[in-house]
């Protein structure tokens, strides 16, 4: 389980405990939370839709890239799919390493790449009754919502 999709709440504490190791000195985790506001409108909930087979393939590629590029011990990530309420964890990335600088760098690499490359889409349900598939922030070639 290096990268996976989950249709149930992400068990963040279970995941981090599963990475605990006595030969690592540092652990960095990122969590993406469902936010109540986007593009100037109040958001009530979200739906994530994935092209699951390719999302898992591409997610695992990103994990392997991180393992190749950074001197880290372990890296894992889970992305939610389906309907999510406010404050739920939409995506989690955990990285363990001997030194913390590399854990920070690898964690940031993984979340940036996931957000720009993995085929998962977000539909926002606004308080005014409208919905929208969130506009791409990557079209201009940058890697988006950093």
């Amino acid at each position: 389980m290096l990268f996976d999709l989950s249709s149930t709440p992400i068990a963040v504490d279970f995941l981090r405990q599963g990475m605990m190791s006595q030969d690592c000195g540092g652990f960095v985790a990122f969590e993406g939370w469902v936010r109540d506001y986007n593009e100037g409108k109040a958001v009530l909930r979200l739906e994530y839709e994935a092209y699951a087979e390719l999302a898992i393939l591409e997610g695992r590629r990103i994990i392997h890239e991180a393992l190749d590029q950074f001197p880290i011990k372990d890296v894992r990530s889970v992305h939610r799919v389906g309907l999510l309420d406010l404050k739920e964890v939409a995506v989690w990335v955990g990285v363990s390493a001997i030194h913390r600088g590399e854990a920070f760098d690898a964690c940031r690499y993984v979340i940036d790449e996931i957000k720009s490359r993995v085929p998962i889409w977000k539909k926002e349900f606004f308080a005014d009754g409208t919905t929208a598939w969130t506009r791409c922030q990557n079209c201009a070639g940058d890697i988006g919502n950093k």
């Binding site: 839709e49 092209y51 939409a90 995506v91 996931i114 539909k123 791409c136 990557n138």
Partner: protein, 87 residues
């Protein structure tokens, strides 16, 4: 001598997210005379009224990303991937 390429290819299309909602379906089988995925996207875009230009999509063929100029083969499963904004 190998047989000539058929003029009509049978492909399977799957739609996700905004394209699924625009198309009103999540998958379809279709016969096409397009020879590349780029040509196929033009065909579908016009038929369904998609407003995403091809510069903003990526394409998967048989479960992995391919370039827009990738040739179509009979039996291919094609997915047009609208811009991703995950997390």
């Amino acid at each position: 001598m190998s047989p000539p390429e058929p003029l009509v290819r049978q492909v399977r299309l799957r739609y996700f997210a905004i394209l699924r909602e625009h198309a009103g379906i999540s998958c379809e089988e279709r016969e096409t005379t397009s020879t590349t995925v780029e040509e196929l996207y033009g065909e579908i875009k016009e038929e369904k009224g998609f407003d995403l230009e091809k510069e903003f999509i990526r394409v998967a063929c048989n479960g992995d990303f391919v370039d827009l100029d990738c040739s179509l083969a009979d039996g291919d499963e094609i997915v047009f991937i609208p811009p991703v904004a995950g997390g």
